[in-house]
Amino acid sequence: MSLSPHTTPSGFLLPSIHSAPPFFTQQPNPATQAIVEEQWIRLLLSYARHRKLFTLRVDDSEDKGGEWDEVLRNERINRRIQSAYLSKLIAKLVEKNVAAYDPPRQTRSVLVYWRLPEEWAETLHQWADSTGQMNTILTFYEITDPPVPSPLSNVPLPLLRTAITILAKTNRAQIIAIPDGEGVRFFPSK
């Protein structure tokens, strides 16, 4: 049996380690586990980036046909990641600051930071700038669901809020209360 990379229907190139049966088992040897964990983390992040997925849940391991299916299971070798192992990996993502529990105070669901909040902040500011929306008040909805698809389309609100908070620290954005909720105003960089 030869292990080889595989391109999924969604066009993602899985590395050959994904076709190795033991990859789907948590390794009892800590040194070995550290290596495969690293592989899983990279794999999850790059897949999230590829599909623009923001949320990963422990339950996704059981969700046959779900949006994470292509990485969490490998039908060709009849393996899938078990929820206990996925839960460990999710904790690892959070520990490495590449994910955050969302909502807070639970550990079964995370926001995956395939772009760091700081990078989202820059993306957001650049988008506002390039679309000529400096100094105007925008609703969160206008950002996450713009008429013209943008890099910010479908960004979860908690992540958007974190990004705006980061911009606010350098006086490049300000959260404003508007009649039906919250809005934001962007300011040019000084």
Partner: protein
């Protein structure tokens, strides 16, 4: 009473001894100079050989092998000598070449140790070293690797070529594989990396306990194998990465 040493004859004898000594030193002188001239000739011939074939020795593995064999048969170690790197090595630049290869072998062994537990198949090692050297590096053979590993011995790093079930592997950890582990590795070679307790019982007649102990030891202590707890047949299979066919995909461990 006969007294020797007096009279004219005694002068003769002394004179004779002196002449013998002179003669003997003259003969050894001439022998030495003869040897010297032979050595000079040999050296010139070698220099000539080295300068003519240097590039070929470096670039052609089979020629290099023949050259190394010739060295062995005439009792010359191309790397040994009074000078640093050896006299011949200096002429050929072969010493540097060999050490450089040694460094690259260490590089590959160390960087893959995490995934294979310090045991790498010879062909895989050669493939990765060749990749590291790039195209201009010229091709290298098993023989070269074995020689380079020998030059690493004084470092005491424990690099060793071992034969496991007919496959040559390079071990880069100071850790003797015991007999049971060698048998397990040989089975893994045949099975694409997968070994189970049942296989060892059926094929080698081991008791279950012996098989389990050996496999768990490799898994937990040595990190030589990975666990698969979703194995359809036995529920718990052991996979030995150094025996798995990773194809030529190097992205597995460094993709982003």
């Amino acid at each position: 009473m006969h007294r020797r040493g007096v009279g004219l004859a005694a002068f003769d004898r002394k004179d004779q001894a002196k002449r013998f000594a002179e003669l003997s030193s003259a003969i050894s002188q001439s022998q030495i100079s003869h040897l010297n001239s032979q050595l000079d000739q040999f050296r010139t011939a070698l220099t000539h050989f080295a300068s003519t074939h240097r590039d070929k020795i470096k670039s052609d593995p089979s020629f290099r092998h023949a050259f190394q064999q010739m060295c062995t048969s005439i009792g010359v170690d191309p790397l040994a000598g009074p000078r640093k790197g050896g006299w011949w090595a200096e002429l050929l630049g072969l010493g540097d070449w060999q050490y450089e290869l040694g460094v690259q072998i260490v590089d590959v062994c160390v960087s893959t140790r995490e995934r294979n537990g310090g045991l790498i198949e010879m062909s895989e090692l050669i493939r990765l070293v060749s990749k590291l050297r790039g195209v201009e590096g010229g091709s290298i053979s098993e023989d070269d690797v074995v020689r380079s590993i020998k030059t690493l011995q004084p470092l005491g790093a424990g690099y060793k070529v071992v034969d496991i079930g007919g496959t040559r592997m390079v071990r880069s950890v100071v850790k003797e594989l015991d007999e049971d582990q060698t048998i397990i590795l040989a089975i893994a070679q045949d099975e694409g990396g997968r070994v189970t307790v049942e296989m060892l019982i059926q094929r080698k007649g081991w008791l279950g306990e012996r098989a389990r102990t050996a496999l768990e030891h490799m898994l937990l202590q040595d990190g030589l194998c990975w666990l698969d707890d979703q194995d359809e047949e036995s529920g718990r299979a052991y996979w030995i990465p150094s025996a798995m066919d990773w194809g030529t995909d190097d992205t597995s461990f460094s993709f982003t």
